[in-house]
Symmetry: C2
Subunit: 203 residues, 2 copies
DNA sequence: CGATTCTTTGAAAACAGTCAATCTGTGTGG
DNA sequence: CCACACAGATTGACTGTTTTCAAAGAATCG
């Protein structure tokens, strides 16, 4: 029999912490065995794509290490970043995953990245059979929704400079981690405007 | 015993249609009895508030008749509409409801409005005891999330005119139903800009 | 009707985007 | 180790879009 550490210290451990945190319970070793089996480990090299526009998204990823961006490309070729995924965040196109429709998004690794992938079926299975996972998913949806509401509010009501300051406040780490061109795209402004605002705001 | 029509034709009927549609099942009469008991009917007069900033949101509402707006007020007193609720849509502050935190939003009836209210506890209860409701809620969350993603994308990548055209395409009824000042606020532009864009786009 | 709110229009100012040039840092191959 | 290429960042001048302020006209409600 494996000692507790054989479960605690494995590569799925961050996911276990995440589940316990958002389901507000402690998942049993037996249940977590099921969870582990439902997720597949995968590495992406920097620049590699987890999803490309037009494909149907087959997995949602839990990021163990590294980072990814989810972005769309508009008619004029401009890229718009909808979401950055970092450690202990999820990334994937939920719409495409469950509706089985072609995705409008690209998901690309920004660094060498390690993730745990789960299919829609497995997620559904865990969700209906393990109450903790059901709870976690509904919390996840809710957090996503709340974060989206804030993002909508900010995008519609704040100036570029105010949005920059919000980013600085809530994700100061992003400033170190991602190139400014991408942060600009995330805020819905040009790289030039980002540069000017940054200079002005950090004086 | 009531005939089937006594269930089918009552005021909760639109909710039943909604559940069947989004849970992709037919809910039994017995289960729907439970649902009916969990919801409370309420009328709001035009201009009346279902929620005011600073209060904790106690209910989510399913709109039977009429319309509402959910909006925030910024530091300079400007109003920003996050969401319009009309027949067969939900309205409420999910964050405040489940976190029990004071809401940043106001929810106001724009017409005389009839709703079915449900508390967080009752929603939780139905969700865990009636599979159809659990399914419906997760679909609801997902639809909300997808709609939010689109709204973020539009707010960050489209010009005011393009956003107007999107509104015209997806919610042409809104143009008739809500004053332009509110539609402008929903799109994140001023009433003056809305008026000019409208004139230009509808020529 | 009168009062209020909503809509339109005009002119000036603020804001952000575009285009183009330069600068910086990084990594690669010679 | 240097030179070069490349991607990202900065700066300036200009353009275009949206806001702001102000005033007048239209619609709605009590």
């Amino acid at each position: 029999m494996g000692s507790p550490t054989s479960i605690v210290r494995n590569m799925h451990y961050p996911l276990r912490v995440y589940i316990d945190k958002y389901a507000a319970t402690t998942i049993s070793d037996a249940d977590f065995e099921l969870v582990q089996k439902a997720f597949a480990f995968k590495r992406y090299k920097k620049g590699q794509y987890m999803l490309q526009e037009g494909e149907v998204c087959k997995y949602i990823a839990f990021i163990l290490q590294g980072s990814m961006r989810q972005y769309s490309v508009d008619a004029k070729g401009g890229e718009h970043i909808l979401h950055f995924g970092i450690e202990n965040w999820w990334i994937g196109d939920r719409e495409s995953l469950t509706m089985l429709t072609p995705s409008r998004y690209n998901i690309e690794a920004l660094e060498d990245t390690e993730v745990l992938l789960i299919t829609s079926e497995n997620l559904q299975y865990l969700s209906t059979n393990l109450p903790a996972i059901g709870k976690m998913i509904s919390m996840m949806d809710q957090r996503n929704f709340i974060a989206s509401q804030k993002r909508i509010h900010d995008a519609l009501s704040l100036t570029a400079e105010e949005r920059f300051l919000e980013l600085l406040k809530h994700h100061p780490d992003f400033l170190q981690r991602f190139p400014q061109t991408m942060l600009a795209s995330y805020l819905g402004i040009t790289a030039e405007t980002f540069s000017r605002i940054r200079k002005k705001a950090l004086k």
